[in-house]
């Protein structure tokens, strides 16, 4: 069996894991990260897109609010290319209690979250689609954040400082010698082989999967998975993050992210962080709640729906997952369970990933008997796409300007997201892409209104040309991506998007006959499918 030796092994390539590895690398540790899929495959790539100001927790969870605003300020400074300064509103709609506004203001004051009340005409001037029945509006420094780009950037920073990042490495089993964890047995999905990674210390940053990982070393960590469902509508119907001003509940935030507006979320306990259904009642609930903030929301074109799982750590059983604290949890298994060489960091928010990484690596230093100060709060995270090949999101307008400047219209591979052939080639040859879905995370192909209708074929052909895999591998890569897109479409297919999807069927089945190409129908790198939802009516008293 192949083996890898390192000083610190990090499990999980989400915001937390990449944050930890970057911090480790900056402090001079030899380190490696294993992620079972692509970076941001987990909750980080399926979140709501909100850089919290802390406003959401100002009343309910002041500790979390303070953490958020501290990190909000830092992240804006160290990764400006990942953050759009949309600002945020907290609005009191006709369904909410007017008086909560005062509690909200007080909460913000107590937690140092900047907040000012603005007039309704002023609000409507800035966001004319908001419900004119809104009675109060507060402005806070929320933002919109691109977690794909952020995760990649942080990982690239780690690599630049010597860290090793291993994609498509799934931890099967922690390696335990007596009272110590000494590494992890991994499965390389691409090469289809087992690899042993040995380390002095293992950091478990597997988010909602952290309990499963710990369990393989016979350490019990009770992490529940709380599923949240979000829906992206095809337009930026708002340019500001809009939160309902009330106690946090379902479907009370709309976040503008790139070209779309996202409504979310629900919060439901699920038995498995990987396999769950998006239930029709959740979709209905999101639609209904969004329309309270933006009347006419139902008439927008829904693009896609997805679920992310919150890692909810608990030492005791709690009935409603939203009541579990959002603040993060660091577990030192040597003191907690008598198992040395093993730390778990879970919970928290995307917004607080850096702080979580900092306390984790502080603990690593302690364990390894060295004192090295953290510098991540003052280290600017470069945009890995900036050198040489100039173009990367952050906004569609910039992409359009580039395309126009280079007169690259004919080479638009994804017209919806304005991804050019050069972008796609770069992602395939320079990046770590193992599937078309990985290319999507890099350059946003397939994320616009047609959801891959045109670009799937094109990317598959460029993939085939540059990677030179066997033709059967290319065929299954194409089919995997079609299935991946379908997964997030099925729950919200109606109206124009259903029509679009039928066109995609016409193209891929009838014109191309891709369902009768040689090779397997799906591969192990393809999407983990959830079953179609079955519950139309909610018996949950959510609203």
């Amino acid at each position: 069996m192949r083996t890898i030796q390192t000083e610190v092994l990090v499990i999980g390539g989400g915001a937390t894991g990449t944050g930890v590895i970057a911090d480790l690398a900056l402090r001079g540790f030899r380190c490696a990260l294993v992620e079972k899929r692509d970076l941001a495959h987990g909750t980080t790539g399926r979140y709501h897109g909100l850089l919290h100001s802390g406003g959401r927790y100002a009343v309910k969870d002041p500790k979390a609010a303070t953490e958020c605003i501290e990190e909000n300020v830092i992240l804006r400074r160290i990764m400006p290319h990942c953050i759009e300064d949309t600002g945020g509103f907290f609005v009191v709609t006709p369904w909410d209690d007017d008086a909560f506004g005062d509690r909200f203001m007080q909460g913000c004051r107590d937690t140092a979250v900047p907040c000012e009340e603005i007039s309704i005409p002023h609000m409507l001037r800035e966001e004319p689609h908001l419900n004119p029945g809104i009675s109060r509006c507060f402005r806070v420094p929320d933002g919109s954040a691109d977690s794909f780009l952020a995760t990649q950037s942080v990982a690239a920073l780690a690599q630049a400082h010597g860290a090793q990042i291993l994609h498509y490495y799934e931890v099967k089993q922690l390696i335990r010698q007596g009272d110590r964890v000494v590494g992890a047995l991994c499965y390389d999905l691409v090469k289809d082989e087992e690899v042993a990674v040995h380390a002095d210390l293992v950091v478990n940053a597997a988010g909602a999967w952290a309990g499963k990982i710990a369990h393989t070393a016979e350490v019990e960590v009770n992490v529940r998975a709380g599923k949240g469902t979000m829906i992206a509508a095809s337009y930026r119907i708002v340019n500001t993050v809009v939160n309902r001003c009330k106690m946090p509940a379902d479907g009370d935030i709309i976040v503008p992210v790139h070209t779309v507006s996202i409504i979310g979320t629900t919060d439901e306990g699920v038995p498995d962080p990987e396999h769950f259904a998006i239930e029709p009642w959740e979709v209905q609930l999101m639609m209904q709640e969004a329309a309270k903030i933006v009347p006419g929301w139902h008439d927008l074109r829904m693009l896609r729906c997805w679920g992310g799982v919150r890692p909810l750590y608990q030492e005791t059983k709690v009935a409603d997952t939203r009541d579990v604290t959002r603040a993060y949890t660091l577990l030192d298994h040597e003191t907690r369970d008598g198992v040395a060489g093993f730390i778990t960091i879970t919970g928290g928010k995307w917004t607080t990933y850096r702080q979580m990484a900092q306390v984790t690596v502080d603990r690593v230093c302690e364990k390894l008997g060295t004192a090295r100060p953290c510098t991540t709060h003052e280290t600017v995270v470069p945009n890995p796409f900036e050198q040489g090949h100039g173009r990367q999101h952050h906004n569609l307008g910039q992409r359009l300007a580039d395309v126009e400047k280079e007169e690259a219209f004919g080479q638009l591979i994804c017209e919806c997201e304005l991804a050019t052939r050069a972008d796609v080639e770069h992602a395939i040859t320079q990046g770590e892409a193992k599937t078309i879905d990985d290319v999507r995370r890099d350059v946003r192909v397939g994320m616009g209104p047609c959801q891959g209708g045109f670009c799937t074929y094109r990317v598959a052909a460029i993939w085939h040309e540059l990677k030179k895999p066997s033709i059967e591998e290319t065929n299954v890569t194409l089919r995997d991506f079609l299935q991946e897109r379908w997964k997030g479409l099925m729950p919200i297919l109606w109206g124009p998007q259903l029509k679009q999807e039928r066109l995609d069927e016409l193209i891929y089945l009838s014109v191309l006959n891709a369902d009768h190409l040689p090779g397997p129908r799906a591969s192990r790198l393809g999407p983990a499918m959830y079953e179609p939802g079955t519950v139309w009516e909610s018996d949950h008293a959510h609203v």
Partner: protein
């Protein structure tokens, strides 16, 4: 011109209806929101490609297999059409296209297996002569030619898949000086270029060094629009071997040719075809449709015709719409529909599911005269044709064009008589 027949929808079904009705000397008007699926599809006539739908091998002989389909699905639109009228519809279209100098080759008792832009074998019944040399029952080696500037067709995947299936195939992507630095290179654009002889000469010159063993040469379906046959023949002559077209991503140049031919046949017979006219409502009296309204910039415009044909397509064409609450509706007449009762039954787990997603079978139920039914005839003078009809899975069966053509043909004759 009398106001005899109003056809709503300008896809293959609507245009075929209007063309047939106009042959009977009727005054015909076609109104459509936009063009139909002819502009997206392959430009062939698929009658029945896979049956049973889960079969891995395509139907070899549609005429022989259709009775099985009808036995299994007696509600299928083909059951109302019948084999004889289906054959007549194919003949009719073949005659029309051949008169227009753009022959469609094939017959109901044989499916072609033609290469797709990913190199799968595509079963189809009638194909333009410009595509026939791609026949995959013939194992002669081929060269597939793409254009660097055309992102809607890549020859590499197609060639490698064909080679995998036992057909020697190589590929080349041309980078012609005439296209270098161009902003827009769509299939339609290339088709226009192809009609210029100096552009063709440049293509031939660029292809020749790559010919090698190739006994035939495949191009994306961009070999001319109005002058496709001449372009095709000229390339064959210059390259000294058979040339064929392969349909790529929409828009479909080959589909546009069929559309043009049908439209001019209607116009030649005095009919009129208008796009950009969306039907938004109607008036009825005494069990008859008395008027159809279309949207204009001022007030809705009224169309009063003796007979009205609904050919707005299914979910793809926009004739059937759905919403978040799980409602399924017909857009113009709010006709009763057959559709899955419950939104939970709309879809299956896999995009490529062999049976297809039940929602796409939604449509209008009609009697043997293609009149929409709700227990009884809804409106005496209203008919429906094409993919608006209920109870079949056009894409999984590969019957998309066949149903549109055959039902349009039958309805056109019904309303024309």
């Amino acid at each position: 011109m009398t106001n005899d027949v109003l056809v709503i929808g300008a896809g293959l079904a609507g245009l075929t209806t209007a063309w047939q009705a106009s042959l009977h000397g009727k005054g015909v008007r076609v109104i459509a929101k936009g063009w139909g699926a002819t502009h997206w599809h392959a430009g062939c006539v698929d009658v029945l490609g896979y049956w049973p739908m889960e079969s891995e091998t395509p139907v070899a002989n549609p005429a022989a297999t259709l009775p099985d389909l009808l036995a299994a699905n007696p509600q299928h639109p083909y059951a109302l059409v019948g084999l004889a009228r289906l054959a007549a519809a194919l003949d009719g279209l073949q005659q029309l296209c051949s008169d227009a100098g753009y022959p469609l080759v094939g017959s109901l008792d044989k499916n072609w297996r033609l290469p797709t832009a990913v190199g799968a074998a595509r079963p189809t019944c009638l194909a333009p002569a410009t595509m026939i040399a791609g026949n995959l029952d013939d194992h002669a080696p081929m060269l597939l030619v793409g254009f660097k500037q055309l992102p809607d067709f890549y020859a590499n995947v197609a060639a490698d898949n064909l080679a995998q299936q036992g057909i020697p195939a190589r590929h080349v992507a041309l980078d012609l000086p005439a296209l270098a630095g161009r902003n827009f290179t769509t299939a339609v654009n290339l088709a226009r270029f192809m009609q210029q002889s100096d552009f063709r000469a440049a293509v031939v010159q660029a292809v020749k060094p790559h010919l090698g063993e190739a006994a035939r040469v495949g191009f994306p379906a961009v070999l001319g629009l109005e002058e496709a046959t001449a372009v095709h023949q000229d390339l064959q002559a210059q390259l000294g071997r058979p040339v064929f077209e392969i349909p790529g991503l929409p828009p479909s140049v080959a589909g546009m040719r069929l559309h043009r031919i049908l439209k001019s046949a209607i116009e030649k017979n005095g009919g009129r075809v208008y796009d950009g006219m969306e039907a938004i409502g109607f008036a009825a009296d005494g069990g008859r449709v008395t008027a159809v309204y279309t949207e204009t910039s001022g007030r809705p415009r009224q169309h009063r015709y003796d007979r009205v044909v609904l050919a707005t397509g299914g979910i793809l064409g926009g004739g059937i719409v759905t919403n978040h609450a799980g409602e399924v509706g017909e857009v113009v007449f709010n006709l009763p529909l057959r559709h899955p009762e419950n939104r939970l039954e709309w879809f299956r787990r896999d995009f490529l599911d062999k049976q297809g997603h039940p929602i796409y079978r939604s449509g209008v139920s009609v009697n043997e005269n293609f009149q929409p039914m709700n227990g009884r005839v809804v409106y005496q003078n209203l008919f429906a044709a094409g993919n608006t009809l209920a109870g079949f899975e056009a894409i999984r069966e590969r019957s998309f064009d066949g149903v549109a053509l055959a039902t349009g043909f039958v309805v056109g004759n019904l309303v024309g008589n």
